[in-house]
Symmetry: C2
Subunit: 598 residues, 2 copies
């Protein structure tokens, strides 16, 4: 049995047919680009991912990194192969893919760069994470760094010689960053002495690069309490002088490696900064503005989590589909003289496959839509369009992160189920997908935190303008689909679903002003409803694009999109009905209960 | 943080308050027993589980068994500790717990024996599986073996000197046992030469016992095709002579060990029978009746899977609850001068805990109810009562297996989520629970197979009498609860839910006679609806028992049961609404789709 790690045809469909990204070349920033250059970038990413990333993914899982004499150790051949894989991607320009030519970048749109990232993630999240983190650090430096900081740190990061990390969490400060204690004390000679213990630092140390650029949240001596007292610091593992040359070690100690359920290809580190009082950092952005700065990177990371969760769902779906087409088991009739059929013929297996397809393709579509909004926010021709896109992306970031993570895990559980006993063995990749994807609901803000962010913050921002914009987008889709035979029923159902969502949202917004804790108690359910409503909208748009092609050269491919849309509307979207009723009841049980009764 | 592996108080509540198992001593078979003897058995099981099982569970996961020179090898100290743990349980009589005194058994009711098994499973499924399988084999021998077979095999099995297995699956015959090819050829000197390859044999080989008694499905030379041509054979790893003495090796080769996601404490083996033409078995039961015989053991195994899934959910819940009470994170107000609160105060965490509580306690309650039906089926005073219990158990077996497995996995995913980043590490047991419990939806018949069994077979058996009996049970609960202030609303909701289930069931039964494949395409959704409706019934019964005690000495404990019932009715049961509509639509999408479109 052989299955691709991703569905390239669907990726092209999403980019070129659905989002029509080739039209981005009409914008000045992307004037040098065309569908051909975008395709060339995707082809290159695919080749590297297929040849160099995918073959390492299971090995990186099996050979967990060890901490030996304060260093991260892996089998030498494996380390070498991974360095080589990363070098191939970086030499091909994929860290600087969306950067401008002034930095030697390809100046690709975010949506194309993210699609390339999706290809790498589908082949091996564990390898790609290093590039993704470097891209995030580079973007943050480009947005908030001084020209001198950019000159020293961006070139080695963009070339893939150094890697980046985001360093927020401490043992006592996970979901609540208000508790961060790491300190930054000004030095007479300039810079800051950094001191503190950080935990769960993804790629916090490894054997892959000359240097690691940590972006660390810490408190200045005069800092106010809580998150408003956090500042951001550039803290390289090896010191970097004013000319960009590396110097001595910077007193960043690898104190431990976390032993995880999955995602074993990427270290998760316990780091001690300044144990010997010699860890020096430099301020990035304004004092006490660290969290706002970090959120630039965090929001990108949340989209990356959504993509990773979706492509893991997609990789599992490809495996399950290939297995279901080959595995002979059972018959469609009671006649034992007939041969067994492939299990893809059994309705229960089809149901499991369609759920996976809806999650994997719908989730990835939503993530790419988010990336396109990022492009439009940065580069659209007119200000209202830039504003519109920025608001939509801001509203949707937490939904992208949490919906794709929770549903992606569900998809991977079903992929294991399709393979049955074989799926539970480590001989098939679905087992690793299931463990790897479990992380995505936890890191970069748990799904519960995303839900509170959506209901408690994002909806109300800019006086609810983003939600109004989204309602208008949905209305447009409904109007289009109502005119198309075969989609008109789905259009009505989508309109109904969003009318319900609008009503529930209004009611919760009023409740928030009256009794915020009681309203926020329903945040997780609200995000689930919101996510399913959004993905229904995405699927109707995908069906709108596919329907004209259902009798064309790729009839099955396009019919499959329409089929999946219908399936989502019949089997998935109706689940929001009782959730709406629960939300509107403002059931106080979760707030009022005495936890001694648990 | 320290958390118990199970909630003993709830187990006692379920047995003594809810199911009132002490009243079983009124039956002649259990006349020697009383609440005191039941409690003593549970106490002994708890002590052995706590002292000897629980400390090994994580070690057995970390030190996976190796295949060396055809033998299963583990670290010697670990093997020794496990042998000692099993010996403690067996010497205390727990394999023969439900056997009669004529076999040296404790003659305990099934429900008490299963409750003791639940305690062992909660501490370590990996250890208990060996005992559970031996019990299953012993029960099958007791039901279908000749007196001579019983005399030779039962004593060493019941003493725990030998262990048992059930050997069905072959590489080409998983869900479809019709494809089983293993053969049994009569020998002139008596017995049968067994030949065939079997896979996924739980505890198929290990280092724990003198001998292993395999119960093997194979075909006699004149066997008809399909499952009606399967016969059952006793095939010991080491030959056993007519006097019960062990002889030479019986040509059963350990050809491989499966490397699994979890459940690593129990081997899953690839076994070759008769590679050298010297594997001898003896027929158990009648020729061609092997599957019917095996289903005696299989049905017990399905209840065991339900118990394992439920107690793993419960173990995860205990961990998550203890963590949530200790872990300080975030505040309930915006005032940073107030100290952080334990996360059990946050509504989102409470929601995750209550879902786990509902699944763990509701699932275990359902399993114990099933075990009580087994007792009533075997030992009730009057024939109609025996018949009633047998029918209910038969109807519910697939629901117990599949609902507890699927929902148990969901509970364990939430336990990981409550612990956040820590939950994803191998430093806390919830990580292992999550991997271990993934198996339960797969083995002993996948959840999809259970669903087809329920809808396609069990409902219609005995002209639907079992479902009618269940409806009457539910009506009684509704009638009782309607008279109790505080539960009357739940009573109405339960009545409504079951009226819906009755309507949907009737409709599907008609559809089955007209177009079976289209109706069976909805089997999995039907089982989910059925399961949630049954567990709602269980929770209302639990609330009925707890409500009179909510102002007593253990007020919080009993209020917690009523709280969980309310939560289940508000947050969980309503999900069945859209599922009923889907089922009644008889949506043909899954049957009609062209799988080239996937």
């Amino acid at each position: 049995m052989s299955a691709p790690f991703a569905d390239r045809r669907t990726l092209d469909f999403l980019l070129f047919d659905w989002l029509q990204v080739a039209s981005l070349s009409a914008l000045p920033r992307f004037a040098e680009h065309s569908r051909d250059t975008f395709t060339a970038a995707l082809d290159t990413a695919w080749q590297i991912a297929e040849r160099e990333y995918a073959p390492l993914n299971a090995r990186l899982d099996a050979d967990e990194p060890q901490l030996v004499d304060g260093r991260v150790v892996r089998p030498a051949a494996l380390s070498k192969a991974r360095r080589s894989a990363l070098a191939s991607a970086h030499e091909a320009g994929f860290i600087a893919a969306a950067f401008g030519s002034e930095w030697g970048g390809m100046q690709l749109p975010q949506v194309v760069a993210q699609a390339c990232g999706a290809v790498f993630k589908a082949a091996s999240v564990a390898i790609d994470t290093h590039s993704s983190l470097s891209i995030g650090v580079a973007n943050l430096l480009a947005a908030h760094g001084t020209p001198a900081q950019q000159a020293r740190f961006l070139p080695p990061l963009l070339a893939g010689r150094w890697f980046g990390t985001m360093v927020l969490t401490e043992p006592q400060a996970g979901s609540s960053l208000a508790e961060v204690r790491a300190s930054a004390t000004p030095r007479p000679e300039g810079g800051y002495l950094i001191r503190g213990q950080k935990i769960f630092i993804t790629a916090g140390d490894h054997e892959l690069a000359d240097n690691i650029v940590h972006l660390v949240l810490a408190r200045l001596p005069d800092a106010p309490a809580g998150t408003k007292g956090l500042s951001l610091f550039i803290v390289p593992k090896i010191r970097v002088d004013s000319g960009g040359a590396q110097g001595a070690a910077n007193d960043v100690t690898l104190a431990g490696l976390i032993h995880k359920m999955g995602s074993k290809g990427t270290t998760s580190a316990l780091l001690h900064f300044g144990e010997q009082g010699r860890c020096v950092g430099e301020l990035l952005g304004a004092p006490h503005q660290g969290l706002a700065c970090m959120f630039k990177m965090m929001n990108e990371a949340r989209i990356n989590v959504g993509i990773a969760a979706s492509v893991l769902a997609g990789a599992g779906y490809q495996q399950a589909l290939a297995y279901a087409r080959e595995r002979l088991q059972g018959r469609l009739s009671a006649d034992l003289a007939t041969p067994p059929v492939p299990i893809v013929r059994h309705a229960d297996v089809r149901q499991m496959l369609l759920v996976q397809k809806c999650i994997a393709e719908g989730g990835l579509a939503l993530c790419l839509q988010g990336a396109l909004w990022a492009d439009q926010h940065a580069s659209a021709a007119v200000a209202p369009e830039r504003r519109r896109a920025g608001l939509l992306l801001d509203l949707m970031t937490s939904v992208i992160k949490a919906w794709c993570s929770g549903q992606g895990r569900r998809a991977n559980a079903l992929a294991v189920q399709v393979l049955g006993g074989y799926g539970y063995t480590r001989d098939f990749p679905v087992e690793q997908h299931y463990r790897d994807n479990r992380l995505n609901s936890i890191h970069e803000g748990t799904d519960g935190i995303q839900a509170i962010d959506l209901l408690g913050r994002k909806l109300a921002a800019h006086e609810g303008e983003a939600f109004e914009l989204l309602l208008r987008e949905v209305e447009q889709t409904v109007d289009q689909a109502r005119r198309i035979a075969g989609l008109d029923t789905l259009a009505d159902e989508l309109a109904q679903a969003w009318a319900e969502l609008r009503t529930t949202t209004r009611l919760l917004q009023v409740a928030l002003t009256q009794d915020a804790p009681s309203a926020l108690a329903h945040a997780t359910t609200y995000l689930q409803v919101f996510g399913h409503s959004v993905v229904a909208w995405v699927w109707l748009r995908l069906a709108l694009r596919a329907l004209p092609c259902v009798d064309g050269a790729e009839a099955d491919f396009h019919r499959g999109k329409v089929l999946a849309a219908r399936f989502f509307f019949r089997h998935e979207l109706p689940a929001t009905g009782p959730q709406h009723r629960l939300l509107r009841s403002l059931d106080p049980l979760l707030v009022e209960l005495d936890d001694a009764q648990l």
